[in-house]
Every structure is written in structure tokens, then in C-alpha cells.
């Protein structure tokens, strides 16, 4: 129902239509993925260290996976981009100007799909059905927002939703109501992606210029779709 399901569906569909696809996602870098996972097992990962570790992971994937793929004409699907990192940082009281300048070398995506869930309670249902239970970081336990994982989770995700909604306007996210069936969300995604691939992309610089994101001039690729939602937000 969440991001990974939709990315998998989209990838298969794009490939069946003859497009080469690279899919990537947060903490999947060869360089820093393992280190981040290990650091999250303990209780000593500080908030600044966390942001920089994630930035290392992102830039490694950008330089070694996403850019080469885009140059080769692939469609790149990434499960979360710089916006999730910026939202987490903001919730932890990190200076937003700082985090933006770190990510200033990121590319402006052709589209950001925001799979929106309207309430933290709906997210709780997903946590429960996943069978894994509440995660420390996903619940924002490092922020001491509640007396247990549940209370903390609700409060943390409530704040996350607020930040994402604001970013959605600021950066022009394509909002999809993710409370619907997989089938209808997937069909909306396909329609939106088809439009992007078939029609020449209109630059999104107006929305993102505040971030000083640099558009790579040598990129010939038509599309770099991108998906993000609140599900499992501080996880993985």
C-alpha cells in the first residue's frame, strides 16, 4: 500500500512500456547504507550526525546511481528524496537554511508524488498490519514527545504531516490520496507519469529555486519521477 509497493508497480509498468528504470531509496547507498542502519541500532545517534549521515547516503546515490542513470536515459524512481530528510531535520530543530545548503547539489525532480495519508491514526493501522510494531525513529522517540512509543508516534507523525503539507505547496508536490485502494493510487500515478514522459517537461525551477537546487545541464533524460509519503517516515 505504501511507497515501495507503488514504486515496484510503476517500475514493472514502465519497463513493460520499454523504459529503462532505476529504482533507489533512502539508506540504500553502498557507501553509507549499512553504517546508518548500524548507527540506528544504538541510542547514541545525535541529530546533527544523523542529518549528515543521511546526506552522505543521498549524495553517494546521486553521484553514483541517479546521475549516471539519468545521463543514460533511464527513468529514475526514488523512494524519498531530499524532502524527507529536510522534514526530519526540521522536526529536530535543525536550521533549515543549513540543511538546504547541504542538499543544494541535488537535482530538481521532474515530479514529486506525495502519497498522503490524512491522519496519524491511519498510519498506526499500517504499523500494526506490518507486524513489526513501532520503530524507535519512526516514532520520533529521540524527541521525547510522549510517554510511550504510541503517543510519541502519533505526535511525531502529526508534526511530519504538517511539514509535508507545507512543503507540498512550497515545492509543488503532486498530492495523491493514499488512503484509497492500491489500484486507484497506482492508476493515478501511471497517468501522471505518462503525462511527464509523453509531454516535454516544464521546468519546475519556480517552485524549487528557493532551495538553490542545481539542474544538471548534461541530463538528457526525460523523466525522474519520485515518490514520497508519510508511511514509515523515519524508518529505514
Amino acid at each position: 500500500m505504501g511507497r515501495s509497493t507503488h514504486i515496484a508497480l510503476l517500475k514493472t509498468w514502465l519497463e513493460s512500456r520499454g523504459h529503462a528504470v532505476l529504482d533507489t531509496g533512502m539508506t540504500r547507498s553502498i557507501l553509507a547504507g549499512r553504517g546508518i542502519k548500524e548507527a540506528k541500532q544504538g541510542h547514541t545517534l545525535g541529530r546533527l550526525t544523523m542529518q549528515l549521515f543521511y546526506a552522505t547516503d543521498f549524495i553517494d546515490r546521486l553521484e553514483n546511481e541517479m546521475l549516471p542513470a539519468l545521463r543514460a536515459g533511464f527513468v529514475v524512481l526514488t523512494d524519498r528524496y531530499i524532502y524527507s530528510a529536510m522534514a526530519r531535520a526540521e522536526l529536530r530543530g535543525i536550521d533549515t537554511a543549513w540543511i538546504r545548503s547541504i542538499y543544494s547539489m541535488a537535482l530538481v525532480p521532474d515530479a514529486v508524488f506525495y502519497l498522503r495519508i490524512s491522519s496519524p491514526q491511519q498510519l498506526v493501522e499500517r504499523v500494526l498490519s506490518s507486524g513489526r510494531g513501532f520503530d524507535y525513529w519512526e516514532s520520533g522517540m529521540d524527541l521525547h514527545l510522549g510517554e510511550d512509543f504510541y503517543d510519541s508516534f502519533i505526535e511525531y507523525q502529526k508534526r511530519m504531516l504538517k511539514v509535508f503539507d507545507r512543503m507540498s505547496t512550497e515545492y509543488g508536490f503532486h498530492v495523491l490520496n493514499a488512503s484509497r485502494t492500491v489500484r486507484s493510487v497506482a492508476s493515478d500515478l501511471r497517468r501522471a507519469v505518462t503525462k511527464l514522459i509523453d509531454e516535454p517537461a516544464t521546468p519546475a525551477e519556480d517552485n524549487v529555486s528557493k532551495l538553490q537546487v542545481i539542474r544538471d545541464k548534461s541530463t538528457p533524460a526525460k523523466s525522474a519521477a519520485k515518490s514520497t509519503d508519510l508511511t514509515k517516515e523515519a524508518l529505514s
Binding site: G35, E38, G46, T49, T56, I59, D60, G93, S101, I102
Partner: protein, 226 residues
């Protein structure tokens, strides 16, 4: 987030900087002994020492996974952990923190590697401004000679081999160290680094450091009776 120059702590932070082979670690060790003997609570913090990041750095160096940007960011991650763990808490508690290499090492190396000067400074803007930052300046040939004679095999990133300037490690190292030295020199006025002539005798450098540092110490010492 509090940024560079804005932190106000009761403790003192002294850092040593300089190219490889400038003798800064020797000087810092002597300083540590002196401050301990004088009865001050002293903490020591080294470059590349974060327990959270160490394994990742080690693996990346071995497998040559770095680009200039990720080299910079992973070292910044390491430094952030040091700041949050080893530097800020003791400074808040009023201790003396001695740092072997600080943000200026990153500024010199990363810019020599081709990173944007302003970007690297932004990345490290969370750092605490040192009470005194010593820059041990040795002429290029002296520093290179000290390292090369003491270590037959230069490491890949240490020699700047990732930058493709030369296939000869020693030649690459010399070019790299030259660029690093240029960056240090321009930072002297930018950050008010205290230059120590690293060609002088060890004793003389140490005397100079102690003289400067004692001006910043509280007269009232802990744990020592006269």
C-alpha cells in the same frame, strides 16, 4: 541550531591544525600532559574518531568508494558525532577540550579535492569556534619529507590518488599537500588561526603554545593545592 562563533560555553577549546608531518600531534600530547599536571579537566578529541562512522570510513577508503563530495560529507558526519559527543558536553561542563584536527582540516582537504569553498563552510557551520586554533606551518618540502621518509607506503586518499593528478603516490601526495597548504594559508586571516613555525624546536613551539593558552585559562585551578 547554533552556528560557528555563537556558542557560549564555560569550557575552552584548543585545536591544532596543519599538514601531515607538521608535528602538531606531538605538541598536543605535550599540552595535554601539562594541563593535566596543572589540575585542569582535559578531554582529547581526534579527527576521524566517531564510533558510529569509523567502520563506514574504513570500508570506503579500502574499496575506494569516495567522491570528493561524499568524502567531505562522511567526514562531516564523523565530526558532527565528535561535536555532539566529545566536544559540546565537556565544554558545557567547563572542561578543556583539545582537538587534534578540526574543521580547518576539512576545509583545506575538501577544497583541495575540488569541493566548493562556501559549501564546505556551510556544511560545518554547526561547529564550535575554538578558543585558539593553532596552525603548525611547515614548508612543503619539510612536511612531505617527514611523512615520506617515515612511511614507505602512502595511502590512496592520503596521497590524493583519487584525483588523478599523478600515478606516482609520492608525486600525487606532494601536489595534494601543496594545495592543502595554500588553503591553510588563506584561512589564517579568514579564521584568525595562530601560526606556529613548525620548523623550530619542539621545546620552543611548546613554550609558545603554553604562553598563549595560559592567557585563556581561569586562574582558579581544580584539584590542585599550592
Amino acid at each position: 541550531m547554533i552556528s560557528y562563533g555563537q556558542h557560549q560555553f564555560p569550557g575552552k577549546l584548543f585545536v591544532v591544525e596543519g599538514t601531515d608531518g607538521s608535528g602538531k600531534s606531538t605538541q598536543l600530547a605535550l599540552l595535554y600532559q601539562w594541563l593535566k599536571a596543572e589540575g585542569y579537566p582535559v578531554f582529547f578529541s581526534e579527527w576521524n574518531s566517531s564510533p558510529l562512522v569509523k567502520d563506514t570510513t574504513k570500508r570506503a577508503k579500502k574499496r575506494h568508494l569516495f567522491t570528493p563530495a561524499t568524502f567531505s560529507l562522511l567526514h562531516a558526519t564523523d565530526f558532527a558525532d565528535r561535536t555532539e559527543r566529545d566536544i559540546v558536553p565537556p565544554l558545557k561542563a567547563g572542561a578543556i577540550v583539545l582537538a587534534d584536527r578540526y574543521i580547518y582540516t576539512a576545509f583545506a582537504r575538501d577544497v583541495a579535492r575540488g569541493c566548493d569553498r562556501a559549501w564546505v563552510r556551510d556544511v560545518y557551520s554547526f561547529a564550535v569556534k575554538p578558543t585558539v586554533a593553532f596552525f603548525f606551518r611547515a614548508p612543503l618540502d619539510v612536511a612531505v619529507d617527514r611523512i615520506v621518509s617515515g612511511r614507505p607506503n602512502l595511502k590512496y586518499y592520503e596521497a590524493g590518488m583519487d584525483l588523478g593528478w599523478s600515478d606516482e603516490p609520492e608525486e600525487s601526495f606532494t601536489i595534494f599537500q601543496g594545495k592543502i597548504l595554500d588553503e591553510y594559508d588563506r584561512m589564517v586571516s579568514e579564521f584568525g588561526l595562530t601560526v606556529i613555525d613548525a620548523t623550530r624546536s619542539i621545546e620552543r613551539q611548546q613554550r609558545e603554545m603554553r604562553l598563549l593558552i595560559s592567557q585563556h585559562l581561569n586562574k582558579k585551578r581544580r584539584g590542585k593545592t599550592h
